[in-house]
Structure formats: C-alpha cells, structure tokens
Symmetry: D4
Subunit: 253 residues, 8 copies
C-alpha cells in the first residue's frame, strides 16, 4: 500500500474533503503492494473473505516465496496450489508453520483455525484416483474455517455405495463432488440432496476423456438443477466457493 | 415424500377405502407417477426443495400439458422452460394462473409467493442481448421465494458502469452474472464481492464465440476464486442454485 | 446367399429357361443388384442376419422407393430410417403393409413376426425427450424378432425411478439406454445388470451438450465395464446389435 | 461388508421382519468394503458377472496392492489394467499367481480357468502396432472364461488379408476389432459376419489421428450396423463386453 | 486485361526495352480484368490449364452473371459450383449452351469436348447419398476433357460390391472416391490399385459424423499410401486434380 | 467526459435551473445513461475516440431505436451493426440522416465528415464473397474520419493480382485484409508492406472451413510479423482499430 | 502377384520338389506372409507399385527387423519411417545397404536406382524447420525412382523468394509443398503451376497452430484448385503419391 | 543476393532498358541469400522495417548460427526467439554483443539503440506467470527502437490494480496486454484507453484453459472495439506490430 496516498486520504478526511464513508472506501480499494513481479492484493481478504491464493505454476520459487512472505505478514492462513516439494522447502524456511500436502500438491499455512461455517461440507469422489483433487478442495475448505467430511470412491457403477452415504450427504450444507471419466456422480448426488452441489471434473481417464473434458461436459449438462461447475482439477475453487456458501451471512439492507 | 399424504393413504388403506393395490400404486406415486411417456418425480420437491421443472424442448405440447397437470396438482409453483407461446396457450387452458414470459421463453405458475431467502439475489448482465437468459434466472429465483435485483448492461468495456453498482452488488447474498462474447464480467464482479458468483455464459456473439463456448471457457478459467459456472444459456440452473444458496439453513447434526 | 434360390437358378439355366447371360446376371444379383443409383445388397440378410436397411437422408423419394421395392421382393421385413411422412406415402403405394412411425421418423415393413430372441430386450430412456431415438431402437428390435420392454424417463436426477425398475432390467438379455444431456444413465444401469448395455447418446440438450457430444463422451468413458456405444441418435444401430446379442447362437466348430 | 449389518439383516429375516426376498436383496446391495481410500465393490461379481477391475493409473502402488488383496481374498480371478512392472512386483509379493503382461501393461490373476463361453471370441487387429490394446482385450476375455482366437495385422489396405480369415471370423460368437489410424477395419469385418463386432479405436497414428479420435469417429459412423464402440485404447472394456455376449444365458421370466 | 498496359508492354518490346521472354512473361502475368467486385483471372487458363471456376456461394446473381460473361468470352468451357436453379436461369439468358445439373448444384458450359486425358477417371461412391458430390467431380472431369466411369454405392459394409469392380478400377489412370460416414472406402480402393486415389469426404451422416469431419479424418489417416484428400464435399477439386493427373505431360527440361 | 457539457450542468445547478438531484443524475449520465434495458455509455466517445457502437443481434427493434436516440443526441456519428432493413426503417423514422448499407447489414449515421487520419486505410479482400465483411470495415473507417481505398478480389491463387496493387498497398498507413477459406492473403500482404495489417477472417467457405475457423487459425499463425487478427466476420472491429492506428497522435508525457 | 514366382512354385509342385502343403503355403505367401505379429503383404508391390512400407512407431525393434527381412528378401527397395538410430543399427546388421537419414527419421534400402518417372518432382518448404518432413518426401520419391529438386525456405512472407523459383516449379510434373504455421504456400504455388500440388501440413508452429491443424485446414481450404492434402507430417505419403503421378502410364483398355 | 543478377539489372539500367524506378523495384525484391537450408530475406528490413527474425524452434544450432551470421552482417539489431541457452553460447561465439534473456527464451543483438517511436508502449500482464511472454514483447519493442513501460500483475480479479495504472495506460501510444486463463484484461484495458490494444493470450492456466485457447477466444470476442489479437504466447508478434503502430509515419501520396 502506498503510504503517501494513505496519508493524503487521511488528511483529506480530517479536513472534511472526504466523508468517513468515502475515505473508508478509497482506502479499502488501494490495498495492494507492488513488489515488481507481482502486485500482492492485500484487499482481497476484506473484499472476498480470504487472502489471495498463490497459483504456483509458471512462477519461480523466488517469486512464490516473495509473495507468500507479504501475504503471511498480514494473513494467518495462506494457500499455495499447483506447487511442489522443493518450493515447500523454501517456503518453510521463512514460514515454519507451513504444511506440505503431497497428494494435493499444496502448501498450507493455517495459523487460525476458528470455525466459520454454519454446517459441514461433504467432499465426495467417484474413484480413488480422484482423491488428490478432492483433497485440494478439502484442505482449502478447512483453511477457510469449515468442518469437512470426506467420502471417497462412491462412483455410480456401484450405485449402492453412494446410496449408503445418503444420510451423511443430506446433513451437509453444501456438497463437493470430484469425478473424472464420465463425471456422472454429481447428477446422482444432486438428485439426493437439497443443497448446492459444486462439481469438480478431474483429468482422470484416458482416450476420449480428453484430459477431463468428458467429465466437464457431463457436469455442465447435469440433469440435476443444483449442480454448478468449476474448472477441471480445480479442487481449490470448489473448496473456496463451498466455504462462501457455508458462511454465516447476515443481510445488511 | 409428503408424510401427511403418506399417513392419509395408509389410514385409507387400513379402513378399507383403498385396496392394497390402490394404496401401493398411490404410495409409489408419492415418489413418482408413471404416465407412460414420463415418470413425474413428485419426490423432487422434498429432496431438492422445488418440484421438478419441465424442460420443454423435444416434448410435444400434449406431453408438456400432461406433466404440468400432475405437478400442479401437488405443487403451487411450477416452471416450464425452453417452450413457446403456443404451448403456453394450452397450459393456461388447464392452469389459469400460468404466466407467459416472452423474452425468457418460460411459463411460470407461481401461486405461493412466500419469501424464503435470507438476502437478495443480484442478477447482472454484461449487455442488453443477455437479458433473456438473465430473466430466466430472475424468474426462477422469484418462483423459489427470493427477492431479486436486476442490473442490466454493465459489461467490462465500460468498467465504470459495474463499479457504479458496487454497493448494490456487495449487499447481495449471491450474484448471478450472465454474459456472452468473452464472458469477462463474472471475474470482475467476483473480485468485488465476498459471496458466491454463479456465472451463466450466453450464446450471444458470433464467429469465434462458437455459440457461447468462448464465454463458457472464460468463466471456467476465471481468476476470481468465487465463481462457479452453469451450462450455456442455463438461466434456470443459475436461478435454482442461487436460490439454494440464499435459503435459510439449519444444521441438523 | 440363398442356396435354394441359387439351385433354382442353376436348374432353370440347365433346362434352358434361362440363357447363360440371364443366369449369370441373376446369380450376381443374389449378392447385389445394380439399379444405377444403388447396388442393393441382397446378400446382407445371409451375411448379417437382416436385410440392408435404407438410410433415408440424402436420397430422393424415387431412389428410396426403388431400393425398397427390390428389398421387399426378397425380404419380408424392411426398415427405412431418417425419412419422412411424404416418403411413407410413396412407399405405401407399392408396399401396402408399410407402417409409419412418426416419432422415430421410420417406415417399417414387418410381414414376418417370428420370435427369434432368447430373452427380452429392455429399452430405457433418461427423459421424455429421448423417446424418439429409443423408439427407433425398439421398432428395429421388434422387426428383427425380439420382445421389447420400454422403460421411459428414469434419468439419474431421480435415482429411485431407475432403481424401481431394477427387477425388470435384471431380467433382460441386453439393455439399450438412450440418454442426452450428460448421458449418465448407462453407467448406472450398467452397474445394476450383468448383461451388455448398448448406450445411445441423443442430441437432446443445449449449450455445452454440443448436439449429443457431451452424452457421447460420457458413455465412452463409462465406469461401468459392460457399456458399449453407438453413434449419437443411432437408435437403429442399438436395436440392431442388441438383436444380434439376443439371438440364439450355436457354435459351429 | 459390514458383518454387524449382515447379522442384523439375517436376524430380521429369521424373526419375520424381512421376507426372504427382501433380505436377499439388501444383503446383495450391501456388498462393499470401505478401506479408506477405496470402497471395494464385492457385489460387482454378483451383479455384473466379474469382480471389480482395478484401473491402475492415478493410484499409488500401496493403494493398488490394498485393493487387490481384498479382491483376491474373495475372487479367484482379478485384473489390474494401466499399470507397470514395478507395481507387478509388489502385487506378486502378496499374490504369487499374478502374471505380468508387458505389452498390455496388465497384471492378471487367473486361478479359475473354467470355460464359460458358448463360442469363441475372435480378436483382430488392423496392424502390428495395435497388438497391445488387442492383447488387453484377449487377456480379459480369457480371464472371464472364454476361448480366444488372435488375428493380427489384417488392415484394409491389403483387403485380401482379412478376406483370407473370413472363415475363422464367421465361426466366432463375437468379434473384437482393434484399429488405429482411420479405423476402417470394423466396418469391413462387420460386413462379413452376422454377430456383434466390438470396435476398439487405438491411439496408433500421428498428425490428424489426434490420439485415436479419427479411429473413434470412424467406428462410431460405421456403415456396418453390427458395430458398437468402446473408448480409445479400452481393450479391457471390449474384452469384458464380448465376454458377456458370449455367456450362456437363460431367460428367467 | 488492361489494353493500354498491353500496348505499353508491346511497344517496350518493339523498341527493345523488353526481351521477347520478358515481354511474354509480363503479359502472361497481367491477365486479369478488374470489373469492380471481381478481378477475373484470365491468365488462369494458361497458368493452370483450365479457366477460373466460379464459386457461387456468397455472390449475388448479378455478380455471377458478370463474371461468367467475361470468362465465357474467352474460354469455351466454364463451371459455376455451389449455385442454384434461379442463377442458372439468369446465366442461360446470356450463355445459351449452359447446362443445369440439379444434383450437383452446378452450371456447366462445355463448348469444347476435345479429349485430353491419357486414360479413364473412375469416380466411385460409398453410398447413394454421396452421388451429388461425386457428380460434381465427374462433371468437372468431363468439362476438362476426360472420359469418366461412374461406380455408385460400393461401400465397405458389403465388400464384395467393390471387389466386383476391381477390374474396372484397375484400368483407370486415377480414381476419385467420395464417401461420408466413416470414409473407409478410399483405403480399400487404394489397396486395390496402383494409381493415385483422390478421396473426397462428404457431409453425409449424422451425429458424430460432424458434417463430414469423421470421413475427412479417416481419409487423412488412410493406411493406403496412395490416397490424398480434398475438402469435405469438394467434388470439384477432386475432379480438377484428377484431370491434371490424367493429362498427357511432356518433360520440358 | 465532455467538459463543456459538465460546466454547463454545474452552472445550471448553481443558478438554480437544476435541482441537486437533477444535476447529479445528469452528471452521472455524462458517463452513462440508464434506460432500463441498457446503460448507454456516453463516456466512450471521450475514452475511446468514438461513441458506443450498437451490436444489433439479439436486441429488439425498440431497444435499438431507444439506444440510438440517446447516442445520436450527443454524437454526430453512430453505427448499428448486425442489423436488418426493417430496423433501419424504424431508425430512420427518428434519425433521418441514417443510411442503410445492405451488403454490410449496417446502419450508419454520419453527420460529421471531418478527416482525422494521417494517411489512407487500404481495405482488401481475397474474393468477391468477402466484400460484405470488408464493406463493414470500410464504412466504419469512413465514419471515424478516414479515407479508404477498396481493393477487391486479389486472392493468392492468382498472386499477380495482389502484386499489381503493391504500390497502392505500400502507400497506406494501415491495411485491412478480409479473407475466408484458407485465409492466406494477410501473410502475403504483410510481407509486402511495412505497416500493421489487420486481418479479418470471414466465414466464407464450406466443409473444413468450419465457418471461418480455418481462416482464423491461418491468420493467427501468419509468418508475417505485422499481422494482428480480429474475430471472424468482425469487419467493424478491423475498421475501428485501423482508424485508431491512422489517427494523428501526440505524446502527452 | 509375381507370375514368374507362381509358375516356378507350380512346376516345383508338379515335379515333386514341393509337397501340396508346402506349395499351398508358399503360394499364399506370394500374397502375404504370416509371421505371427504381422502379415507381410508381398502382393503390395504388384498391386500398388511399391512394397509395403514399415511404419516404425509402436513396433518393437525385433518386429521391425523381422518384417524388413521378409520384405528385403523380395524387394530391392524398402523404407522404414518414424524410426530411430538404434533401430537402424539392428536393421543394418541384417541388410548392409541400409542408409540412415537422421533429419527424416527414416531408414532407406535402395538397391535398385532405375529411373521410373516421366519428369522431375519438386519438393518445396515454407521454412527451414519444415525440412525434415520434406526430406521424408524427397527420400521416398527417390526410392521410387524419381529425380527430385529440393527448394527450401520460400515461405509467403517474402513472396519474391518463391516467385524467383517459378521457372523451376513450372518445369516439374508434380510439386510437393511442406508448410507449417498457416500453411499458405501450397495455395501460392498452386496458382503458379498447371500440375498437381501435393500439400503436406507440418506440425511446426506453436499456440494456435495446434500441432499442424492450422496448416492442415488452410491447405484443405486452398483457393487453388490443384491442391490435394495428406496427413500432418506425412512426407512419406506425399512422396508416394507424387511418384505415382510421375509414373509413365499406359492405358490398357 | 545474386550478384550476377544484380550486375545484369544494373547494366540494364545503365543502357536504358530499365528505368530508375524499375531497377530499384527489382533490386529491392531480389534481396535474399540462399544458404542451402534457408533463404535469408535481406529485403525484409526494407520492406517491413525490421530484419527477418529467427524462429528458433525446429532448427539446429548450426542452422541458427548460420542464419544469424548473415543477418548480423547487414543489420545492427537481430532477434532469435523460441531458443535456449545452449544456442546462445554458440551465437555469442560469433556475435559478442548478443544478450541472453532467460525468461523470454530470446537472444537479442541490439547494436543500434536509436529511438524511433512517437510515444511509449505499455506492456501489461494479468499475472506474474504471464511475464515471460510479456518480456518477449517488451524486448522486441525495445530492439525496434521504442521506449517501453512494464506493468505486471494487474489482473481483473483485483480491478483496483489496473485502475491504479489508468494514467500510465492513457499516456501510451499503444498497449500490449498479455493474459492467460480467461484473458479478460484486454477488454478492461481496452475500455480505458483510446489507442489500439494488442492482446496476447498466454498458455498459462490448466484444465479448460486448453493451453491458451480460452484466453485466445476471450480476446477475439472482446467487447472492447480497439482490441486485436496475436497467436498464443506470441509476445514477439505483439511487440513487432506495436512498434509499427508507434512509428512516426508520413503520408507519401
């Protein structure tokens, strides 16, 4: 954040050129820090309810560490996705609370464990191979203050497996379903519950799965009306939006 | 399943008003009713919080009327999407409360107007041409008991237009954004609010918009973490899931 | 090749009823008959177990009638698919037993109703809108000598509907499943039965269904191992191959 | 399977709370074993005629071994597809009968060699490069109790090669055809036989073969009516469904 | 052609500014006539061996007539493809020798019928529905001075039909094969002959034929080495290039 | 924002001609005007150098007229693209200077004809069928104050046609090239000039042109480094950006 | 089929040098030889004018050597494409005349260098990076008895480079053009010559070249009528078909 | 350049066979040097305002060095893109001024630093991961004589970041925007400035970003009229065309 700009804003406020509301709005929107290769968006925590998350792919280790340091200085909880063990080593050198989650390729810093959700978030997979993506979702939801129930390997070719978990599913405030191949599970789960289902296509499969496209299209065309979709393998996004759905919310108007 | 209805049936059976066969058939119909060309899913209202919605495309008028009659006999509010004015005439012959919404190609029967949402649902479009899809979303959300705020034509090429509505957007419990062409608006809106954004790609555009594919891909790859996506032109789905997010919810465990 | 027919021709030739040239032409026609715009494949009945089926699209009415006349002269049962009512009128002028099936856009001549199957063929749809394609499959299977059970509108968003038909499905020798949108039903049905499931994607849907591609990909990637797939909207092909599966078969080696 | 649950079901049956049919149905559907990262579907052997097959890709070696141990404890024959030699070493440490099939990347445990098929299954390739996929099909069919005839390298550019095998093909109860590039062979074979042809597109080719898409589309559009299709490189699926077609089947109604 | 420009060139040649070779080259390359909406390429006949062919789609009738008049003034034979009967009427008003070919949607002016080919061109179709495209090829080849043999409806599902024409095919200098659906016929024909095969995918088919894409990909991936491919439905192009192959050619170096 | 207009409003407010509320609304309207179904972006003229252009497709005639009236009240020149003759009639009822351009499907209001460009803009087509798209570009460039040179039908199959216009092309400040089919012309033109080439793929073609995709991909992969690309058939966009390139520009820092 | 070889076999059989079984096997091998993993098609030389070519990808080295040995026993010239240096080493161990062509990844055995073509074949590339594919074409054409002229790096962005070779191109009996990126060169070359142009798209490029798809589509949509296309990177196929075009041909009817 | 040819031209000029203008034109167009594997286009500097740029991918190191030597002998500034550090070593052995730019994979020789632009070129990225592509653009623009302003990481999910740079953007003569994922930033920037925006999609992203296709389609469908697009990851092209836009230009007619 530009301190001169902040001073200017505050003095404008003091001498009456800006109302309290105006000053507050402008200060809120100025919140980012320019560190050359990145503008760290410190306002995101306020605007979106969670600090900026670092997408590791395509960034150098030095860039990732630089960004994480700035974020961790202001936010107790930080996530780095699409990263690797080597980067984890560098991050833990500067933030010792960092945890490495191998299957999800995710670094998590979770220093604040306050529970913020009104209910539980169920995270479900069609197969064992979908677990890494589902773990990314579950770890994200936990980092954002939610209780998570994991339900692995209940794909539709053995429909009794998901039916056996019907009670658990119907207790959740929101359900995340990760599935590859034909991506049919969200439709079945969607038909069993009365809450939103966040569907995550995974790239599991081969041939005409086209790296998750078959699952993606299946989910977009779901005959269950309560299904929405995020990008292929985007466990993080699913965990994020499920957390917002599960938040206590109070109307302000 | 409607438990009162079930009790009524069982006692009718016990006191001989219904034969075993009749009772069995009617109990089965509490879940779904087989009318030859369709199995009307009467359990959906209980399981999903809203009765089955009729997708009009590819059905004959007679089939639509037949299904609507069964649904309307048990549910005060019914929706038929992807339909036309001629079908509306036939539906209104049997259900006089039916309303025709030309721009959305939607028939709505809304006999119960109880408000069920904790907050308001904002429905936003990038352009004027996206209004029909957005109307489908708004009409659905209203039919499911929500207050809706419509914000038309605030696409990103004139970014001040959406910024001017920031306050309204930040008051909503959930925001629906309909956009065609490059589908960039959900990312911008997503960055402004701390609630879920349900993005609806529309088929508006030409050339390399490929009937909404460009917008769909844009939304799936949104850099705003709170964006989920439904099918191209699926205003109904967006309104449906937004309504579930906006529902009062009480943990049961 | 029909051996009796061949013997008859050879003896006609021997006793002088046919010239060498006539005999040679007619023997060649036992295999196929060249009528200028088509080579009618009379050997197909022997080689494949059913006479050549006429694909109506892209042919003139005169061409269709010409081909049907030749086929009907040798085979009791004939099918014309992808055709229309006008063509039906012309066909019935020459073959009075022809039936018109509006929903399937199919003309059927079924003068031989011998039952040839060892079991029943179940034909299932996910929705009401999938019925036309499923009817094409059912009518084909009947024309090829099979008993057919029709099960309409048991899509996965109301999973109890298909579970309610489990017994019927488990009695079938082969199951045909027609589904559009996400095409998930074959996987669920596949998991319930121990016989082959022939999946037919339909072009029902909109947006990212891409005219049946989403359903097609879903079915190709089915996690149920007993699912095979035919072309989008190819009810005929599904009925054909299901009939061959259902045929009594005796090893010859 | 949950033994307590089973006991409960059996005692309910004994004291008349459940009929024999009800108890049997519920026991059948309960058949899966939750081992954390997987729900091993022990009911699949009963429901589908062969135990669950392990898809190796995307699973850790420890997960594969864990699943195989459970399956092998109840089923004499087990298959692991899409795996590697290293995993084979670990599997053979616990199941000494395991065989490694290099070209098909498949581990097979085949302790029961009872013949179950009514006829022979012919497995055909267009080229030498298609053999690995075809071997996966052949090995699967053998594991499911079938006699298999292998016919390699009879692609259509030398049409006399497949015609030379016409007799062998016409003796089979079902034919599997694996082909890459333009995938034309199933249409030719389909025209020669009166039984179902299960076509497997392979990813052999380059350029506009698009990893098997050209072959897949060719097969889906086959002008031979008896062709059905499985996923690209899905030799296993082809072998599985061919085995079901070749099974002795007795009508139960 | 610009006469002033020609005069200028000729006088430059006369007074020695240009050598005979230079003048000849420049005159040859200047051959086009600017009529506002088109530059009619009069040099094409010299450069390519046949005058410019008019692609009718997207041009007004007046534009087509204008272009044809210029072409017909200099060339005895002219083709207009992708056109309609109405345009034909206008063209015949100015060029009475124009013929209308309904099935190929082609207008042909053929005032010079000199035979130019060294052999015969065989034009083959897989099905009856492919005839319009094949006719476009055949009519083009005839207009360019070739003898053509038409072989209709010999698709690979009845392989004996094409084998029966082997002798005819082996007599041709070049073979054109038009096929839709899976497009397998060129590979089979290619394997039977020792001359080039020009494959024309047609848009015949439905579902996963994707308007001819399946056939196109099949042909591009043909395992027969003598197959080359032109655009979907491009009968004209196939006829054109086959004519050039069939031309008498004399080495000039 | 128009500063004169702003001053006028503020002085009207100061002298009491406008209430605070009225002044505030009108100042907001200097940026954009909310007319229900649209927010007319009056600031665009200032920000982008030309008023908002109305994309007619998907809007009702009443909506188009409503928007045009607001735009024409403040801007002398207005464009409506992707519209039809009927809409033109309604527009001319309110703005009599409106002109209808049939081939480009465009309504133009051009009341200010001041020349603003430093040089000429050349607009080139590969074929006669590409003229409508090129006209859209040319009409747009003229409306934005540019001199335009039209060069029609100089596609690469007759390379001498474009070489003959080399001099004209080399005089232009920027060249627009519209081409369908293989879209090769921009590469050739790009190699001849030292200014930017704006390439517009057109949807002219058939089969594997895929509605302009072939041309689009060709242009995106151009080996000429000075080529940039706009959407398929987007003549307007090409004319717009070419106009900005051709503007006199003065550095302000 | 080699008639001399057949006569030799028959007389060997007659005079008892061969048993009936031996004779029958060897006659069959005149057509093709079954060596387990392959049926070597010895008839191809007769039927197609060149022996079967070995596509190396997806075959083991042992398989390649086995096939080459059989082919080289009967044919002086043999090609192995899509192979590597290691395989070359093994091949040269058995056929010492084998040559390794690194850039084309091709092994060539050329023991017969008789010239068979009526003219020269020009092989042209758009860029330096396209040379490997073009070399595959040139080496193939030489192996089939043709004189070849190589013209490298004359892409359209410097149009004078190809114009400078106009004379050479106009002397050729057939021209092969290899180009990646936008693939525009075949259209320009096609417009300069009056002989067939065989276009080979290469996978050179990045981004929206999609591995050669952009070039492939460009060539399929060429506005030059004398262009035909082979698969992406299929230099071999281009060389093969160009050789057949260049062959002396004598009509036989 | 062919010296004999030049001599011939000059003597023709001297003896009056060619005018000064003719001689000059022909000499200009002859400018390329044939070095076997490449025709180095020395005329490009004159025709296009910058010497030929070497695309490194698919060329051997020896080829690159050979081409660079010829270019550097005549042009002070030379670029090699898509190359690697090893090649750089070889290039620097012959041209010591060569610089290696790791992130952009680009070798730059910049011996002439004259400023040629009328204004500044702003180069903007949506995220940190897009920097390599943006650097390629910036380095190119600098090599072509422009001042460049770099603005990194101002993607639309934190819209205040780009708004904070509005002033800088509005000072530029042209803006380059590199963005991956949904590619929305060019539309927002386009709406803020009145100059051309050159959009570069990057391949940053995963899943449904399809290697940059989502960003590419987003940019092609931009609702901002001043956006043009170059190929995915084509930073070089963007820098090149932006430089041409930024050039001082004087009308010559």
């Amino acid at each position: 954040m530009d301190l001169n700009e902040l001073e200017r804003l505050l003095s404008s406020f003091k001498n009456g050129e800006l109302s309290a509301e105006e000053a507050s709005q402008q200060i809120k929107n100025l919140h980012f820090e320019d560190i050359g290769f990145a503008r760290v968006d410190h306002g995101r925590s306020t605007r979106q309810g969670f600090p900026e998350v670092v997408f590791g792919a395509g960034k150098t280790t030095a860039q990732i560490v630089g960004i994480v340091e700035r974020l961790a200085a202001r936010s107790p909880n930080v996530l780095i996705t699409h990263t690797d063990g080597e980067t984890f080593g560098e991050v833990r050198n500067v933030i010792t609370e960092a945890e490495w989650h191998e299957s999800a390729h995710l670094i998590r810093i979770q220093r604040d464990k306050t529970e913020l959700g009104v209910g539980v978030i169920a995270v479900v997979t069609a197969g064992t191979s979908d677990i890494p993506v589902a773990e990314e979702a579950a770890l994200t939801a936990e980092a954002m203050g939610n209780r998570v129930e994991r339900v692995w390997d209940v794909g539709v070719a053995g429909i009794h497996r998901v039916l056996a978990e019907r009670e658990l599913l119907q207790r959740a405030r929101v359900v995340i379903v990760a599935a590859g191949m034909e991506g049919a599970l969200p439709s079945v789960v969607g038909g069993l519950v009365s809450v939103p289902v966040v569907a995550v296509p995974t790239s599991i499969g081969y041939g005409a799965s086209f790296g998750g496209v078959a699952a993606l299209l299946g989910m977009l065309n779901s005959c269950a009306s309560n299904v929405t979709v995020v990008n292929i393998d985007n466990g993080f996004g699913a965990g994020f939006v499920a957390s917002l759905i599960n938040r206590q919310w109070k109307p302000t108007d």
